[in-house]
Symmetry: C2
Subunit: 408 residues, 2 copies
């Protein structure tokens, strides 16, 4: 008997989450066991509100699916909703099951990060406990530019963001090199608790470029005095300094550097807001060294710059969507599709799945043994891990001088 | 008799200034009247310090010239030095002429913006007045991402920056569209006195995207109350607002919005520094509306993102370098190579030259009749002007997942 499949996206947008969606759609379209492919708008919120669209009807052209795979952000919208503990309140779960039955959903694929895997975990356990696990298969497909999910070698979206970051550092380093006195350039990269994206700045050295002079990751306690000292030394030698730093760098007591100055800034409603670690370091350099200094945030651009996609990332993201559907067809509820690395040189991987209970609510940081002993650079092991993930170029089609992205 | 040619770059780096340099090198290499092509390092500073490199020796492969044309920033370095008035102090001029004679320079090409054209103007007038104009031909080649040079339809570097900006807005708009409440995103674009780059954000609408909801250009006095009112209205209708603003927006009395909050911030040396117009507006939205708000600066990325070049820009930039050499060979000292537009639909241009005295120390702003009557959008005339400049893609070669840029 044919069943319908439902797919939704959640968490922060990336350049690759639509590639996973296109993998889900393509694999579903060729399956004789699947009838309609529904998309839920704004993640589980769309399920609770019964806000579905029929993707089978929308995607009747492979060219459209292709365009979707190269479109940044989340075509189905996203949400930040975390399901309640069903032991305390199972009303959301009852509603979801009601909607699934009404729409004859047999497989639900949730593409997202940590919180989304928590949803997959809770929902599949609920079905198990209710004795309805044979009715619904709940599967996770990973994505996060932060690359901090455990039990998968790396995460869709990370490779494209890392490629953007490596490329941008190679360009910024040239930009500040034109004057005889280039000053200090501080570049703040996303990553609240894991420094993977910031580490990718080191890949800007691959073709002979200087790359960042100093790299500060969340994993290593940040020492302001040492930073000023190191900056002064490089400035006197090279005439300019380019620094990569994670937004989430912390001092030895675990306080975010960005929050050290936060008390100064309160809005009319009394909320403090965070200036950004780059701005804090900019002030310090200005006050302690007094040289030309500028801080730059790669900000939202690093997660949505789909005009520079990693081919490896996009192809793997599609495959993970396909793998998730496959897990659904094999009725392996509560699993997350994942990537296991076989080797880095040459780069070889395999697609498999893992119990989502081992993934949810955990966080993968950079192993300390991959960070240089001086605390402000990366070791070759980290480069070997990162490099394959940014390889390959997938370029969107251009029209009117800008990329043609799928219109939702 | 063969002569040597000298080329130098000046002002802020762009993605296209090396394309003009490659045009100069290529045209010089095929001329039977030119012997050695020298490059001066760091603009006129390199002449005063006799800091030359022999480009004829360095560029013996067309592949290297090709790579140079796709490399951001200024391969010869830059400077901000403005020559003194020779009527008051002609020591710099005497030194330059001495170096020219020593190195047998017959043609000097200066690639740069407003200040560089001032140097070309002064130096050629000095030669004229000294009766040595037949010895040295001084020529300007334009570049500036700001697009604010007069007497040329547009400026090399602008098209590539505009393409980056249009593409980035199309990506950012998707990024903030994923949540049901997207809040306000303020995107600050370069341009102290002219809004050309900010206007390019409107090109993000070309393929059906929403693009910026509000566009604030330097040319129109900025009214904070009206801004808050318009933002509130769009927020209530669309659930999110994306705003493009020039760094140089000013109030009705001509004071920079960014400076309105500047007095708060002083460094240890007592210099005030500027928070940025985007940050000022962010504070206002937070205090007056209280919704989710974020400001993003496109910062240095907009002028060095050579991974997304405008084909039109790069080809025209090369041609302007070639045209400048041609002017030099025709002994037309004191001229700047330029582009004249014949038509926009279809896009047709011609290369010509103009007396640099008509260019130096002037500034081209957006004509007010190209700006929407509401003061926060652009008219079709401006789109028609801008669109051809971002068309065409020139993609650098990739190696190790990042672009291969020329190593200086």
């Amino acid at each position: 008997m044919k069943k319908n499949i439902l797919v939704a996206q959640s968490g922060g947008p990336t350049s690759a989450i639509n590639a996973t969606l296109s993998g889900v759609i393509q694999t579903s379209l060729i399956s004789s066991q699947i009838d309609i492919v529904y998309g839920s708008l704004n993640g589980v919120e769309g399920i609770l509100q019964e806000n579905f669209i029929d993707l089978t009807e929308i995607f009747q052209s492979t060219m459209d699916i292709e365009e979707l795979a190269h479109t940044p952000s989340a075509a189905l919208g996203s949400c930040r909703l975390k399901l309640k503990d069903y032991k305390e309140d199972d009303s959301q779960y009852k509603k979801i099951i009601e909607v699934f039955r009404k729409k004859e959903i047999g497989i639900f694929i949730y593409i997202g990060g940590n919180d989304s895997m928590d949803t997959v975990d809770k929902l599949s356990r609920y079905c198990e406990e209710q004795g309805i696990a044979d009715e619904f298969c709940i599967i996770g497909a990973p994505k996060t530019i932060d690359n901090d999910l455990v039990m998968t070698d790396h995460c869709p979206g990370f490779g494209s963001a890392a490629k953007y970051i490596a490329t941008t550092f190679s360009e910024l380093d040239r930009d500040i090199s034109v004057y005889q006195n280039g000053g200090v350039l501080l570049v703040e990269v996303m990553g609240r608790n894991a420094g993977w994206l910031t580490a990718a700045s080191a890949l800007s050295r691959m073709n002979g470029g200087n790359g960042p002079d100093l790299i500060y990751l969340c994993e290593v306690p940040f020492n302001m005095d040492k930073f000023i000292e190191d900056t002064k030394e490089i400035l006197s030698k090279r005439g300019r300094v380019i620094v990569a730093l994670s937004e989430g760098i912390q001092d030895s007591e675990g306080r975010y550097i960005s929050e050290l100055h936060a008390q100064k800034e309160k809005d009319a409603f009394g909320h403090t807001y965070i200036a950004g670690a780059g701005k804090v370091l900019e002030d310090e350099v200005r006050n302690k060294i007094g040289c030309k200094v500028r801080s730059v945030e790669l900000n939202l651009m690093q997660r949505c710059a789909a005009h520079i996609l990693s081919g490896t990332d996009i192809q793997e993201s599609r495959m993970l969507g396909a793998k998730a559907v496959q897990c659904g067809l094999e009725e392996r509820s509560g699993r997350m599709a994942r990537i296991e690395r076989i080797s880095s040189k040459p780069y070889k991987i395999r697609f498999s799945s893992v119990s989502v209970s081992k993934v949810a609510n955990r966080e993968k940081k950079i192993p300390l043994e991959w960070i240089a002993d001086n605390g402000h650079d990366v070791k070759d092991e980290l480069i070997d891990y990162l490099l394959p993930l940014i390889r390959g170029e997938e370029t969107p089609r251009y029209h009117n001088g800008i990329p043609e992205y799928y219109l939702v």
